[in-house]
């Protein structure tokens, strides 16, 4: 879901950042829209925090510029930018109460009492810690500190809220709950959120758009569906969700599809979607495990699947049961392939050694572009 207004909140233009001789951010070009929930996703050390800190004013870009609502803030100090940050370790002021923490920014802006109290209380209600305003910051649970840190930033009505892995210190259950809440708070207030995480599920769940980074470079920007469904390169594909990749020998190109004929008479096909594939060459093809149907070999004969569906036979070598899902590992002519089935009433009851047929719809597989960055 993208916002209808196309106003730009943030622009990175050719931003580079070095620490000594090490380049942490490489030629970053990025536009983030007003009111958007934007996530920067990538593995540890890829430069997410550095990018966020350049937005907040804690690091200065070595070259390029950063625009906030059109004005250049590349070298503005942190206190002169209309952005606020939620830190990974919250960083509440330990010598102040919850109220004092949340009121801090407003007091600096000379907001006086009836309004000050009203706005602080209102924000404490939004993040659901009303009633704790007299508590010392040291006497809060992790989840409460998290909420207070959020209120302390949001109460200033920043143009952009920056969040650096704000949920990483919480336990799984609380994290899931806060993901939903954060998303709904963002929706309610309409503030632009820039959210840093290395958790791909979190990014897919919460974001309007996601930027994927690796080794200081932004590889792809898109909606969760675009990123997951049509990753720009092998790294993105592998980082966002799990993936099967195999080499497809191009025996035939027809109707925008490359087809590989298998020894048993079946075939495997991939939509080229603009990619080029010369006959007799080999291309790299990927498919998500959950897009693959697994059928017992005897039953498979009758089920021809959709017209043009790819089919390949194999033997089950492992069954990983995780409650709602089961992942099968299957040895095929294409190599070892993982397929995921929901454990509903139609789930096949397979054990290691069973002969199966894998099948998938024509648009399920995609050509995997070579990596943009080695690594």
């Amino acid at each position: 879901m993208t916002t209808s207004s196309s106003a730009t909140a943030i622009q990175f233009e050719g931003v580079n950042k070095f620490f000594g001789r090490f380049q942490a951010v490489k030629d970053l070009n990025l536009e983030i829209r007003e009111g958007e929930f934007f996530s920067l996703l990538g593995p540890s050390g890829c430069g997410k925090t550095t990018s966020l800190r350049m937005l907040a004013g804690f690091e200065e870009a070595d070259s390029g510029c950063i625009l906030l609502r059109g004005s250049d803030v590349t070298s503005a100090p942190p206190n002169k930018r209309p952005v606020n940050m939620v830190f990974q370790h919250y960083e509440l002021f330990p010598h102040m109460t919850v109220f004092g923490n949340v009121a801090y920014g407003l007091r600096l802006k000379k907001v006086r009492d009836p309004e000050l109290s009203r706005r602080v209380q209102e924000m404490l209600r939004v993040v659901r810690v009303d009633g704790l305003e007299g508590r010392g910051a040291r006497q809060l649970s992790g989840g409460q500190q998290q909420r207070v840190a959020l209120a302390r930033a949001l109460v200033n009505r920043p143009a952009v809220l920056l969040l650096d892995e704000p949920l990483s210190a919480l336990d799984v259950k609380l994290r899931k709950q806060m993901q939903i809440e954060l998303k709904s708070i963002q929706h309610q207030l309409g503030t632009t959120f820039v959210y840093v995480t290395h958790d791909q599920e979190e990014a897919l769940l919460m974001s309007d758009r996601i930027g994927i980074m690796n080794q200081g470079r932004l590889l792809q920007v898109g909606t969760p569906r675009e990123i997951y469904g049509r990753p720009a390169d092998a790294f993105v594909a592998d980082f966002v969700g799990s993936l099967n990749a195999f080499d497809l020998r191009v025996d035939e190109v027809s109707g925008g599809r490359a087809v590989m004929r298998l020894a048993d008479g079946e075939h495997v096909a991939v939509a080229l979607e603009g990619a080029v594939a010369a006959p007799a060459s080999t291309i790299r093809v990927a498919i998500r495990p959950e897009r693959i149907r697994v059928t017992e070999a005897q039953a498979a004969g009758a089920d021809t699947g959709a017209p043009g569906a790819s089919r390949v036979g194999g033997v089950v070598t492992a069954v990983d049961y995780v409650g709602s899902l089961t992942t099968y590992r299957i040895e095929t002519a294409l190599g070892l392939i993982a397929a995921q089935e929901a454990n509903d009433t139609l789930a096949p009851d397979l054990v290691v050694g069973d002969r199966v047929v894998l099948s998938w719809a024509p648009d399920a597989a995609f050509v995997l572009p070579p990596s943009i960055v080695e690594g």
Binding site: A56, P78, N79, F87, H89, F93, L108
Partner: protein
């Protein structure tokens, strides 16, 4: 305590008591040491201060006579005021130097703070008397300051008042106290998380506002400890006033030394010492109270 009131102890209270007993047990060696080497001598001192000095002996009956002597004597009152005022001044100056120094080594050059801190420690453990004598040569009639001023033609005669007066006492005292002040302030500043400072900046504080609203309140306990260290050390000192203060500016410590060494009047010396301790404790407590009010 509440056990006899008929209400059964909750598990929580019992656990609390158990923990208290354990922690007392763990503390026993420290408490014993403290009692033996600090509280004991202090009690002896207080006891002696109530004795009577007669024919170079201290005998019972116990009385307040020594204290009456201390409080009413004009000489002693002058000594006490000078001791307290110069010590306060030295402690405040020492903190005024130590605070920015520590601030700079912690927040401006965080990479170098350990080595700079080590340098300060070396200064602290460098010879105390040696440093006092060094100040004599710097401040003396033929010292570095007078020498320089005469060479430059600023003065024709050496200034005698530099040495042997309150100025020399305070300068040397501050030099002696600065490392003592750096120690607790440094420890307190180490506990200020850099993230908290960034949060304050992010919320709109200038660097100065961060210092005033975040760093100072968080470091205040360390500053108060520094003040207590410095003030106590200064008020109890007698070597610096003896060697640099001349005949004009002795401290109460010099009088105590005189009463013990020359006249052997231990009870009077003990009364002076006890009065000094009480005075110092009151002033430190007062300063702490006021500081906590002002800096929040």
């Amino acid at each position: 305590m509440a056990g006899g009131s008929g209400r059964p102890l909750t598990a929580g209270v019992r656990a609390e008591r158990g923990r208290l007993l354990v922690s007392i047990a763990q503390l026993t060696p420290a408490l014993a040491y403290f009692a033996l080497f600090y509280v004991g001598p202090l009690l002896v001192l207080v006891y002696i201060s109530f004795l009577t000095f007669r024919n170079f002996q201290f005998v019972e009956p116990l009385s307040f006579n020594n204290y009456a002597n201390v409080v009413t004597s004009e000489t002693f009152r002058v000594l006490f005021s000078r001791t307290v005022l110069l010590s306060l001044l030295s402690a405040v100056l020492a903190i005024a130097i130590a605070y920015p120094f520590t601030y700079i080594i912690t927040f401006v050059f965080p990479g170098r703070s350990r080595s700079l801190y080590f340098l300060i420690l070396v200064a602290l453990f460098g010879g105390y008397l040696v440093r006092i004598y060094a100040w004599r040569t710097i401040l003396g009639v033929e010292g570095v300051i007078n020498g320089t001023l005469m060479t430059l033609g600023v003065i024709e005669e050496p200034i005698r008042e530099i040495l042997n007066g309150p100025f020399a006492v305070v300068v040397s005292m501050v030099n002696f106290l600065v490392p003592l002040a750096v120690l607790p302030i440094y420890a307190a500043m180490q506990n200020v998380s850099p993230g908290v400072i960034e949060a304050a900046r992010d919320l709109g504080s200038s660097r100065l506002q961060v210092t005033r609203r975040v760093i100072l309140p968080l470091v205040l306990p360390g500053v108060l400890v520094a003040f207590a260290f410095c003030f106590i050390a200064a008020a109890g000192d007698f070597a610096i006033p003896a060697l640099l203060g001349g005949v004009e500016s002795p401290f109460i410590g010099n009088q105590i030394q005189f009463q013990i060494g020359q006249t052997s009047n231990w009870p009077l010396a003990a009364a002076m010492a006890t009065t000094l301790i009480a005075l110092v404790v009151l002033i430190v407590a007062g300063v702490a109270l006021v500081a906590r009010r002002v800096i929040r």
